[in-house]
Amino acid sequence: MPEKVTLHINGVPVQMPTGSVVSAALLKAAVPARLSVSGEPRSAICGMGICFECCATVNGIPHRRTCQLICSDGMVVETER
């Protein structure tokens, strides 16, 4: 297994160690996952699938909990901006 995978966050390539979760990639890239109803930027809090603060669109599917998804090569992540 290669040691690194590359995914795209809002079009920008981000390299992560194999086995990392997507919310870690968002934190590494310093990109908030989502915006609250009033427009505040939000990122992973619990990291275990409970708080829903790390939701983003992954490979076209909205509201995915990124802390529960493993990064893969070519994965496309879009956040609310």
């Binding site: 109803v37 599917i61 909205p62 509201h63």
Partner: protein, 377 residues
């Protein structure tokens, strides 16, 4: 004993709207709410401000009600989330397209703007609808609000004009202008207005039945839906008097969330959701919008519409239902309590203050019910 010109029982949107009108007119108004304000049918419904043409009287009232909301718009706080989304009535086939033309004629005669769309235009307006629909009728001035926020705004306005909210103790009896609360408090009002929705405890003769409905709200999907969509079969569903029914009815919220309805059930007073009818309701919605199957729902809830035998509300003195001349009614709005709240309040205050109303209030007077019953007997 505290004295009021008018005591209003029930701080839902209808009671709050009545309180606002009467307090504005300078009357001493008390609002009695045993529970939490704006938390019954007001909180359960969609908040669709819609002109309905199922009867001439309903058309007149909903048109007036919508116009009063439009007039109030500049004063409404942002939390009310008023959005002029328009209603798009969906015709599945040519038979329903004939209904679209009839509906357009009715609306035009009443001065309600409406545009006939063909199948291609409907698909362009709402790309997530299924292919091959016959067309529809777009009523562009219909709107969407968040009813609990609107109701609280009306309540605050009433209170800023001197109305008093008496909260936490339910009214247990209303007779001869005397209202007794559960804790023994006695209040007096020259008039007592029952704005108690589907709760008939204070006047068991009220011809109101609970009609249960379900709604589902989704996560946020901005741009998925643009108008409130209602299948034309909705009127058939709304008019089935006894049988359970579902109809496709979906609303975009300002947050990008979608409210999906609707169901109608008599005889089920259990507030729990009913998975059988909920499944039917969602299958119906998916048959019109297949992509809904890919979205996540967050929450399902139920509510109870206050349904009268002739689908029109009871607005005015309770004569015919009660010998007590102090008792007045503002109840029985079924699915149109939000649309009609301001209209009902205006008619109520016109009656109380002996003003001339802008529309004919006779079709909504409670005494019609006894007359109809006598006629049928």
């Amino acid at each position: 004993m505290r004295n009021y010109d008018v005591l209003i029982v029930g701080a839902g949107i209808v009671g709050c709207a009545c309180a606002r009108e009467l307090a504005h007119a300078g009357l001493r108004v008390g609002i009695v709410e045993g529970n939490i304000s704006s938390a019954g049918a007001t909180a359960a419904g969609m908040g669709h401000l819609v002109v309905m043409d199922d009867s001439p009287a309903q058309l007149q009232l909903t048109r007036y009600g919508r116009a009063l909301w439009q007039q109030l718009l500049p004063e409404l706080p942002g939390a009310v989330e008023y959005e002029t989304r328009g209603t798009l009535w969906i015709a599945a086939d040519e038979q329903e397209m004939a209904e679209v033309h009839a509906k357009k004629t009715t609306y035009s005669a009443a001065g309600v703007r409406a545009d006939i769309l063909d199948g291609v235009q409907v698909a362009a307006e709402e790309p997530n609808l299924r292919q091959g629909l016959a067309g529809g009728l777009l009523v562009p001035d219909d709107a969407v609000i968040y009813p609990p926020a609107a109701s609280e705004f009306l309540l605050q306005q009433a209170m800023s004009h001197g109305a008093t909210l008496l909260q936490g103790n339910a009214a247990v009896s209303a007779a001869g202008g005397n209202l007794h609360l559960a804790d023994g408090t006695a209040l007096h009002g020259d008039r007592i207005v029952l704005a108690t929705g589907a709760d008939c405890a204070l006047l068991p003769a009220l011809p109101i039945k609970k009609r249960k409905g379900h709604l589902l709200i989704t996560d946020r999907y901005p741009g998925f839906l643009h108008h409130q969509l209602v299948e034309l079969g909705y009127l058939k569903s709304a008019h089935k008097l006894e049988a359970d029914s579902v109809a496709f009815n979906i609303q975009p919220r300002k947050t990008g969330q979608l409210l999906i309805g609707s169901s109608r059930q008599y005889g089920d007073e259990n507030p729990q959701s009913d998975s059988r009818i909920l499944t039917q309701m969602l299958e119906r919605a998916q048959s019109y919008m297949p992509a809904l199957a890919q979205l996540s729902g967050l929450r399902v809830w139920t509510g109870f519409r206050a349904a009268t035998p002739d689908k029109l509300p009871l607005i005015g003195p309770a004569s015919g239902l009660s010998d007590d001349s102090s008792l007045w009614l503002a109840a029985g709005f079924e699915g149109l309590g939000i649309t009609n709240a301001l209209a009902a309040a205006r008619l109520r205050s016109d009656q109380l203050l002996a003003r001339t109303s802008e529309i004919d209030a006779a079709p909504y007077l409670p005494q019609r019910i006894t007359k109809q019953a006598a006629l049928h007997a």
